[in-house]
Symmetry: C2
Subunit: 260 residues, 2 copies
Amino acid sequence: MARSPDGESVITRAVRILDAFGPESTVLSLSEVSRRARLPLATTARLVKEMARHGLLDRDERRQVLIGTRMWELAERASPVKDLREAALQYMGDLHSVVGHSTQLGVLEGDEALFVERLTAPGSVVNVTRIAGRLPLNASSAGLVLLAHAPDELRERVLRGPLASYTPHTLSEEQVLRAELAEVRRRGFAFCPGHIHSDATGIAVPVRRDGRVVAAMGLVVPNDDTAWTFSRPLMLAGLSLSRALSGTGPTQAPARAAGG
Amino acid sequence: MARSPDGESVITRAVRILDAFGPESTVLSLSEVSRRARLPLATTARLVKEMARHGLLDRDERRQVLIGTRMWELAERASPVKDLREAALQYMGDLHSVVGHSTQLGVLEGDEALFVERLTAPGSVVNVTRIAGRLPLNASSAGLVLLAHAPDELRERVLRGPLASYTPHTLSEEQVLRAELAEVRRRGFAFCPGHIHSDATGIAVPVRRDGRVVAAMGLVVPNDDTAWTFSRPLMLAGLSLSRALSGTGPTQAPARAAGG
DNA sequence: TCTCCTCCTCCCGCTGAATGGAAGAGCCGT
DNA sequence: ACGGCTCTTCCATTCAGCGGGAGGAGGAGA
């Protein structure tokens, strides 16, 4: 939408600039931003200046660029995720203290699972998720739950699209995945032994607000015979959280179907 | 910077749209957004559509507009506030469990104190702060600490500017405020009995990263003779948190001086 | 049922803000 | 001193953004 050769709107470019930052790259030089965002340096400089003027970005004493506090404020003040996290945190805490393994909460964002909250157990099995981190829908237990209850259009798109694979156990074939999604819906939870890491089992249940699945709460436990036993407390916690979310809040946490 | 009569860039308008949302207005109709952002309806519609395309905004089944999850992700993934909150939360928790009153963490953002974390005590005295909420620098205890250690340019601007007043005890005169800031620096904490609400006393200490004040940790306790006694545990918690923040992290949480 | 109102989307011609190559200034290590 | 990096500034070009207004959809009231 811009008069540039590649035809992009200012907002697209601004998002690309914000996207240049990540957990491993919180502080970037202007040219690093330019390279990561694939934008001409002059354009990057102008946009960064403008965004910094509004506090979306910040520049330290060395003129390095970082995400601004205002960005956090705008996102936090009115985000539906905030309600969800606050409501979920106590139930996640209870669950975490009972089962003693990593507990996490994921929502559907684009065509992936976005993890919005996590409680880690010291010395637990490997856990690749992190707050504000993403995992493919077909590979993670939370992703399977979200995918199983997603709008048809999104589910079909993901099923047809390329499916990520972490281990030999990852569900990366359409028919197998399709069958498992039906099983997840029937059984009420997703059970993923070794799907992401061979030593870990992911289990996840749907979290509903007024009947609609808005998130998935999950556990990461050791991949052994006892893994199944964690499904019952997890399901209970999921039902409790769903009950707490339903009926009261005017705000709906939407499961976005629209892609990029 | 835009060709519109009022001369604003696209980014300015986008921020104005995001600013239309708040804790009391998380879900808005398009025309409400248009009115709050003071933008023509057609312009608002176009920008909202574009922003929703990138997940910065979302639209529910009734076409109502709300903040998108992507917004939260972009802010959370790389924000310096994230580090600060995560590091602070355990010390705040300890403090909270020892003193049994509301505990909060504020940073300097623009010309105000922005509260980024809070632990509330059930049945505690009134506490007007909320997460992602703001208070004037001269009125709140956290604000006084931040102002006392702010760059000269910012401090002088605030001192000269209009000073908010909540109660007769609010420091709303330049000379009184100036003297108190010196006292805050000397004494090491801010003590604000009845400055915001006559029943409550705010106390706050600086939180430093590598010597630089990056935040203020505060308590809200009853406004009585015992209030002073809370200053010592608070100072201790502040020193512990500062020590935990210093020396390790590569990221600096910048105290923005530039205004809007 | 009809009217009135508000809500929203789409159309479309105008125009000046955004663009990005290039020039130049600064900084560092060799 | 020099090559290689950084970043800022300049400026002619031009198309993305603009927003008034038409028109459709939906809901409340009569």
